[in-house]
């Protein structure tokens, strides 16, 4: 990959309770592109994604070796501020998880926890983030309603807006459409396309058409190993590895 990399992993291994979930994963995530991670269930793609914002720290008995750098800085270095890391690396989850607060408060939550108090600025950020997430027109008249009253697709876009509000550099998406219907999925996919102008997006998906549609680069994972990664066109049309080809063509046992 010729583009400049924002995240680099070097020989990353990860164990849950002594069971290895990632095995010497080395890859580069190019800046301002969409990178898709594909592979069968349990192959470690979500685990890898959660390494990038150190969300695996929440789970007991996790051991990680190897090196992950963001902007050339090791994120596991002692003295790394996890909070600042997560501000830079936002995340959208599989199931929409808006907080049980109003729509406005959901988006304002991030800026608030990072110390913003000015209401005018907050208003501006909320509007901008909701516009950016293509949700503004649908909710602008009911910002003070509970976020839990939105549809699943709207909730997911709200979660994206919530992530955008803290102005991250990287957005991690963990199967963001798996709980959504086709129309809502299409909206999110369009949104991802727009987002890459300003952000680096890493998306985990088990839907290969989706990976082909939205991503510039693709990594294929199997049993905790990164089998192959490269330009999406190349991975889907001329995979180098037989495993990749078998998976993409659906011949998988």
């Amino acid at each position: 990959m010729s583009e400049s990399a924002i995240i680099t992993t070097n020989n990353v291994n990860l164990w849950y309770n002594g069971k290895q979930a990632l095995e010497s994963v080395s890859m580069k995530i190019p800046k301002n592109k969409v990178t898709a991670l594909i592979g069968p269930s349990g192959c470690g793609k979500s685990t890898l994604l959660r390494c990038f914002n150190r969300l695996n720290d929440l789970i007991d008995h996790v051991k990680i070796t190897g090196e992950i750098t963001l902007d050339d800085k090791n994120i596991h270095e002692s003295g790394t501020d996890v909070v600042m890391l997560r501000k830079k690396v936002g995340m959208v989850f599989q199931k929409p998880n808006p907080f049980p607060k109003s729509i406005y408060e959901n988006v304002a939550y991030g800026p608030r926890v990072h110390g913003l108090k000015n209401n005018n600025q907050l208003d501006a950020i909320v509007e901008q983030s909701l516009r950016h997430a293509a949700l503004w027109d649908e909710v602008k008249d009911r910002l003070n309603d509970s976020a839990l009253g939105l549809s699943g697709g709207q909730q997911q876009r709200l979660c994206i807006a919530r992530t955008l509000a803290v102005e991250p550099e990287v957005i991690l998406m963990d199967e963001p459409c798996s709980a959504l219907d086709p129309i809502a999925t299409a909206k999110i996919e369009n949104l991802i396309d727009l987002l890459k102008q300003d952000y680096t997006v890493i998306i985990v998906t088990h839907n290969m058409q989706q990976a082909a549609r939205v991503s510039d680069f693709t990594g294929f994972m199997y049993l905790g190993k990164l089998i192959e990664c490269g330009k999406t066109v190349q991975i889907f049309e001329h995979p180098k590895e037989e495993l990749t080809e078998n998976y993409i063509t659906g011949r998988f046992g």
Binding site: L55, K88, M91, N97, P100, Y109, G110, G115, L148, R162
Partner: protein, 652 residues
């Protein structure tokens, strides 16, 4: 005579129709269970009926308004006055103080246990909180009387430490376990996605806790506080022993060092001395009615909130928040104001000046410095405060247990355990009291267990949720929320007088049984519900009848849960004083009861009398407290261990 019959197994099932007798048997079993379940409703009706029967006269004679809002309670004056306003105010003030004391501590502790504590710390804290719930109220009262009131008397330099403050602190401690465990459940139940979502945005753990988790658990915490209030309002013995019991409204109203008298304490003090059928007697039942109404409203509110919460969780995340979003802000503000006001009153009125100055300084520094602190320090300070709350709760338990063990141990001897009391309990032992308590508890559990288990089986196995189950469940909830002193009054009016059983072992056993019945029902229900439906279906699909399925497949694995519940009930019954005070016990009897119609001695009552009415019984007083504590806390420890053991086993 033994009869031998040859049973040749008949395997031609296809041709066999169910015998009429077996159908009748099934129906009969179902009917029996229905009756046991409906029993709770009948008891509630009887309680209401008998309280009204003996209490309505006072509302007629004095009038409802003068009774409720009269400012003088002087039932034994030449011209008796029956105004219970000071008692209502006393109850409210004591409860308010308890809540101010208990709520911050409980929520801090709940946050610590559910979010911060390591597994090992949790394994110490959770049983400790349960043990705190197990200490009998008379032991709390005793501790309050000998330690807390003395501490207040010296610290604040007042003539007597028996004050509103003492009662509030003591009740606060007693309300801690309820509030902690219910709020902890609520916080733990907040979906994990909220935590991840918040942390992924770059919120600190403390921001996640304070801005997402606690607000999301607010309904559950509200229910916890209401349950705590219910517990505090219904408490008799502990309050009676430390509140000073002057039927006055504090002057000025925020004087926490004034003695107060609660509704429950009035019943506890005067019920034993009143002549049956007099106007005073009616007035006491009138008080019981008022008390019952207050506690019922409070408990039903808590139950309703918790119930809605459960339904909401089952229905998924699309529930409407219980407290509308627009209301949350003002509510939070009111709570803050209340806490602030109580703190100010406490500081200016009660605390020594240097202490007040220190607290004001720290609070002021925090208030003005908070915004300038980095989130890291905010988090550190907050975690420190939360951990301190948990530590204080643990320390309270250690202090109470430690104090009673150290002071009580020297009094314990073989003679103490096997001899009757002498010289009004100053010398001699407590053998009849130990035996009496064991008799009372054994009888109570023998009565309550079949009724409660039957009711639970009916509710879980035989019916769908409908109007009748709702009625029964409401009955159980009402019974559960009834203050123990009201059970005492009911037992006295109904069993002792109306059924002319007299003050006796039997009357005490029945009264205690009624009191623990709701707990038996609830714990049995829980353990039955834990049995997966597939087991029942498997058995029914083989052609087994309902009763065969229940008795052979459902009940055996539920037994550990039922036994645990029963042990907890035994512990509770052994420590109760209020229900047996007027129905079963005498002080200083040298003899054991000959039959269930004789009165008995009991440990909690013996301790109560030694502590309040017999000067110079110091050694035996501590000894009695220790024996009672060992008995009750021992039961709880056994129950907790049994449950833990089987939980482990079922997890494999």
């Amino acid at each position: 005579m033994v009869q031998f019959t040859k049973n040749i197994p008949d395997l031609s099932i296809a041709s066999k129709r169910p015998a009429l007798s077996s159908l009748i048997k099934e129906q009969a079993i179902k009917t029996v269970f229905f009756i046991t379940a409906f029993f709770a409703v009948i008891v509630v009706i009887f309680i209401l009926l008998f309280l009204l029967r003996d209490g309505y006269a006072i509302f007629v004679d004095v009038g409802i308004i003068p009774f409720l809002f009269g400012t003088t309670w002087a039932p034994t004056a030449v011209e008796p006055l029956y105004g219970i306003l000071p008692l209502i105010v006393g109850t409210l003030l004591v409860t308010l103080g308890a809540i101010v004391f208990a709520v911050p501590l409980s929520i801090g502790c709940a946050i610590y246990v559910s979010e911060l504590a390591s597994t090992r710390v949790k394994n110490v804290l959770k049983p400790a909180i349960e043990l705190l719930a197990g200490i009998p109220s008379v032991v709390y009262g005793f501790f309050g009387l000998v330690v807390l009131t003395d501490f207040i008397r010296v610290t604040f330099d007042v003539p007597s430490g028996e004050t509103w403050l003492a009662a509030s602190i003591l009740l606060g401690i007693m309300a801690l376990p309820t509030i902690i465990s219910v709020s902890e459940d609520a916080i733990s139940a907040v979906p994990h996605e909220f935590r991840e979502g918040s942390l992924a945005i770059g919120a600190t753990r403390w921001q996640t806790i304070s801005r997402v988790l606690v607000p999301a658990a607010l309904s559950g915490i509200a229910a916890a506080i209401i349950l705590g209030i219910g517990r505090a309002i219904g408490e008799t013995m502990a309050v009676l022993m430390v509140a000073g019991n002057a039927a006055v409204i504090p002057e000025p109203i925020w004087n926490v060092l004034s003695p107060v008298r609660t509704l429950t304490a009035t019943l506890g003090i005067e019920m034993g001395e009143v002549s049956v059928g007099s106007q005073h007697y009616n007035a006491l039942f009138g008080i019981a009615i008022v008390l019952l109404v207050i506690t019922l409203i409070i408990n039903l509110a808590a139950v309703a909130i918790l119930h809605r919460l459960k339904e909401g969780q089952a229905a998924g995340s699309h529930q409407k928040p219980l407290i509308p979003l627009t209301l949350k802000e003002p509510l939070v503000r009111i709570v803050k104001l209340l806490l602030g006001a109580s703190l100010v009153i406490f500081l200016f009125f009660a605390a020594p000046w240097y202490f007040a100055a220190l607290i004001l300084f720290v609070l002021g520094a925090l208030y003005f410095g908070w915004d300038h602190l980095s989130q890291k320090y905010v988090e550190k300070i907050s975690f420190g405060i939360v951990a301190a709350a948990a530590f204080i709760v643990l320390a309270i338990l250690v202090i109470i247990l430690g104090y009673i063990v150290i002071k009580g141990l020297p009094a314990i001897s073989w003679e103490f355990l096997t001899q009757p009391p002498k010289d009004l309990g100053r010398a001699g032992g407590i053998y009849p009291a130990i035996v009496g308590t064991l008799y009372l508890v054994a009888g109570a559990i023998l009565i309550a267990l079949p009724l409660g288990v039957g009711a639970a089986i009916y509710l879980v196995e035989y019916t769908r949720e409908g109007r009748i189950t709702r009625l029964i469940r409401n009955g159980v909830d009402l019974l559960n929320g009834t203050p123990s002193i009201v059970f005492g009054l009911f037992g006295f009016a109904f069993i002792v007088l109306y059924l002319t059983v007299g003050v006796s072992l039997l009357a005490g056993q029945v009264t205690l049984a009624l009191m623990i019945l709701p707990t038996v029902i609830r714990t049995t229900e829980e353990s039955l519900k834990n049995i997966p439906p597939s087991l029942r279906e498997g058995s029914l699909a083989l052609g087994a009848t309902r009763w065969q399925t229940i008795s052979k497949v459902v009940i055996p694995p539920a037994v550990p849960g039922i036994v645990t519940g029963a042990i907890l009930c035994i512990g509770r019954a052994a420590g109760e004083t209020a229900p047996i005070m007027f129905t079963a016990v005498v002080f200083s009897s040298r003899f054991l009861p000959d039959s269930v119609f004789d009165p008995v001695m009991a440990l909690p009552y013996h301790l109560f009398i030694l502590a309040t009415n017999v000067p110079g019984a110091s050694a035996n007083m501590y000894g009695t407290a220790l024996v009672l504590l060992i008995l009750v806390v021992g039961m709880y420890a056994v129950a907790i261990t049994v449950r833990h053991h089987f939980q482990k086993k079922s997890r494999g």
